[in-house]
Symmetry: C2
Subunit: 132 residues, 2 copies
DNA sequence: CTGAATCCGCTATGATACTG
DNA sequence: CAGTATCATAGCGGATTCAG
């Protein structure tokens, strides 16, 4: 994911859309496959545990889940709480900042569900038109 | 990018959020780095040519640009028009369907610009808290 | 239970050269 | 100009193993 925002006609020597633009990094991250799913899951429910997420996300490896959670935590989007019980329990939930992202994310996913048929249709036509 | 939409508590055996769900494919694509930039560029201007895009996107390789454009075209989001002049001219522009995506995309990118400082700040604190 | 660490194949991406 | 073809490479992401 990356910024779609305003880019001036006069492209600056330091292009804000390639490297070095922070907002690009963020969107690349939250736009990644698992990050969206994790955010979505934590958005719908209040707090989830590691294994709980792992199961409900269906198919994510421990490595990727950990990696995704760490990055989101670092970005201040989710909160990680450790309960030193036995066995240990760790819960993840959206931070206030993370909450503000729910809207934009929802807009995009709703678009996908609303227009998916048109896209599938377009693909079909494109393929027919092409592969012969 | 992936669907953040409604997932039921009772995860079905065929998990709509992993593989096989069309809307996931779409979001993964339009959420990709270059796709967002291309859509943004074509959204702000009416129509752009290949080289024009290549320059304004700053740093994209010909291969990636072609690939991105092809996929977006296949998904029915952009229109590709060839003018058989000499030298040849090809223009790309958003389709009506592509236009409907501008809003959601804008919401996300605006979020990133509005909250980028909080994120950067969170990262800084996380790093300080961690690396020692 | 939660996750860190490691190995590793595969794909995505980029640089380059070539074509219509 | 607008690509295609080829090759090289980094890093994603998965499987497995180990640890607190």
């Amino acid at each position: 994911m990356a910024t779609v925002g305003e880019v001036s006609e006069s492209t600056p020597s330091w292009d804000p859309y390639t490297r070095g633009c922070p907002s690009r990094d963020v969107l690349d991250q939250i736009g990644s496959k698992w990050a969206v799913l994790v955010m979505g899951e934590l958005g719908r429910h209040g707090a989830r545990r590691f294994t709980q997420l792992r199961q409900q996300l269906g198919g994510i490896s421990e490595k990727m889940l950990t990696q995704t959670l760490r990055t989101l935590e670092r970005d201040g989007l989710i909160l990680r709480t450790v309960y030193p019980e036995a066995p240990i329990r760790v819960e993840y939930e959206l931070t206030p900042l993370g909450q503000t992202l729910r809207g934009p994310l929802k807009a995009l996913t709703e678009w996908s569900t609303q227009h998916i048929e048109e896209v599938v249709d377009a693909r079909k036509k494109y393929d027919e038109r092409t592969e012969k």
